[in-house]
């Protein structure tokens, strides 16, 4: 009973750390995907005179990835039905040039404003529309999600680390005498820590398997049936097999550090 309790006392904080890390990776992917969607959906509209070229606009800022001229003919066609062709040609000639500018990543409001100012300074640019209010709201939401995630995961990992430290104290009390006896009888550090390593590795394996199992279930079983478009289309955001390496590495590092600290603290100090 005591042994089961001790296992649970170590498995739970490990589980919390692993869930925190996996959640961090999942939310990281989700926010990155959200950011990418926002980026793809975001454009700056520039109105220029006839002489401005797409290349000139593109050279204004390194974050501008693509400049697409809007076909004036299509616009005029839709608004000037029934008007004679000669008149339509005159309208087209009289209209300024419209461009949509795409960015290579999702920028904050200040950076957008910088681009806007630079564009406005170009000769021939009549108007720049950055859709600032909508962009600002989206960007703030994006930032809020990211910051909340950092705080949540940070708190979770910190709390769990304290629980791991508590468990290390329990181990010290439980194993100190055994390790000291073994040391006096000539056992190497490896042999003295063997029992503890076995216990810790079993707990680590259980915690890692539960975490992997949970997120694999979410990806392969729950997400496809969830009806949430984002998750149905992008279920792989919830779990990737590369995550196993990150989780395994983390849990192994925690186990190694914990056991080494306990073994070293229980080690004999030769007096004299």
């Amino acid at each position: 009973m005591k042994s089961v309790k001790n296992h649970i006392l170590f498995i739970l904080p490990l589980l919390a750390i692993l869930l925190g890390i996996e959640s961090f990776m999942v939310f990281g992917r989700v926010t990155a995907s959200f950011g990418e969607d926002l980026r793809q959906g975001y454009t700056i509209l520039v109105v220029t005179d006839q002489n401005t070229t797409p290349e000139t606009l593109r050279s204004v800022h390194p974050r501008i990835s693509r400049v697409t001229p809007l076909e004036k003919e299509t616009i005029v066609e839709q608004i000037a039905r029934g008007i004679p062709n000669t008149t339509t040609d005159e309208i087209i000639q009289a209209l300024p040039q419209f461009y949509t500018l795409h960015l290579d990543r999702y920028l904050d409001t200040d950076e957008i404003e910088t681009i806007r100012t630079l564009l406005r300074q170009l000769p021939g640019v009549r108007r720049v529309e950055t859709f600032g209010r909508a962009h600002n709201a989206n960007y703030n939401l994006y930032t809020l999600i990211k910051v909340s995630l950092w705080i949540f995961v940070g708190f979770m990992v910190l709390t769990s680390l304290f629980l791991v430290l508590k468990q290390m104290e329990i181990w010290q009390l439980e194993h100190r005498e055994r390790m000291q006896v073994m040391e006096i009888l000539g056992a190497s550090a490896m042999l003295r820590s063997g029992v503890l390593f076995r216990i810790a590795l079993i707990d680590a394996l259980i915690a890692a398997m539960v975490t992997i199992g949970l997120f694999a279930f979410l990806r392969y079983v729950w997400a496809p049936k969830s009806g949430i478009t984002l998750l149905v289309n992008k279920a792989d955001l919830l779990f990737r097999w590369q995550d196993v390496a990150v989780l395994g590495g983390t849990v192994l590092a925690i186990v190694l550090i914990s056991v080494i600290v306990v073994v070293r603290s229980a080690g004999e100090t030769r007096q004299g």
Partner: protein
């Protein structure tokens, strides 16, 4: 006979060398000797024994155990030396979570003996100390005398060249004490080992020829 332990002007101290407990002691213990070290409480008997298994480093002077200089010995060599010693403690120092049999074969586990050898030795040793029917029990289920017999069996399990016993009968009644003394006499004879026992009182009935050193006022004197 070669010397197993040699001390030359040996000084032992505690508290970072500030509290000297043994001063300038010189003595030799030969192979096959059975040595009792007695002295009043606090005279440094256990301290001296600790220096033999390397838990205390000499403050000054020379101390050689099994040909190794205990002042300069590396940790790795010390651990190797310890696997050839049989150490018996007053408080037994058994591992309570392990069975009696596993406690007995701890030195064999440390030495990396295979499982068959460990089991055979466990049976032989437990029979030797008359505890063969208690192999699967845990130390706390045994009496003090029985626990010390397990301690003796553990000390003998790897045929040590030197047996160090710190008050082995200190917590035992007369009957149990006599059993332990018998076992130690047999061990010296059968294993041809050197035995050093720190004790308050030398047993009244003791058949093996022995040496008696008294530790008093920081000095070690041979009285027999």
């Amino acid at each position: 006979m070669p010397n197993v332990i040699t001390a030359n002007r040996l000084t032992l101290a505690y508290d970072n060398g500030e509290k000297e407990i043994i001063r300038n002691a010189s003595f030799k213990i030969k192979k096959g000797d059975f040595v009792f070290i007695t002295g009043p409480s606090g005279s440094g008997k256990s301290t001296l024994l600790k220096s033999f298994y390397g838990q205390l480093v000499p403050k000054s002077g020379d101390l050689m155990v099994g040909g190794l200089d205990m002042s300069t010995i590396s940790y790795k060599k010390l651990q190797k030396l310890r696997t050839h010693l049989g150490i018996i403690f007053q408080d037994y120092k058994l591992i309570n979570e392990w069975t009696v049999a596993k406690n007995v074969i701890l030195p064999l586990i440390i030495a990396g003996y295979n499982l068959d050898m460990q089991q055979t030795q466990a049976q032989r040793l437990l029979k030797h100390v008359k505890l063969e029917d208690k192999a699967d029990m845990y130390p706390r289920q045994l009496s003090g005398g029985e626990q010390q017999r397990v301690g003796v069996a553990r000390a003998l399990s790897k045929t040590p060249f030197l047996i160090l016993a710190d008050e082995p009968t200190g917590n035992l009644d007369e009957y149990s004490s006599n059993v332990i003394w018998d076992l130690m006499e047999n061990a010296r004879e059968q294993l041809d080992a050197t035995v050093v026992v720190v004790t308050h009182r030398i047993p009244t009935i003791f058949n093996t020829p022995y040496r008696h050193l008294i530790l008093e006022n920081g000095g070690l004197h041979e009285v027999r």
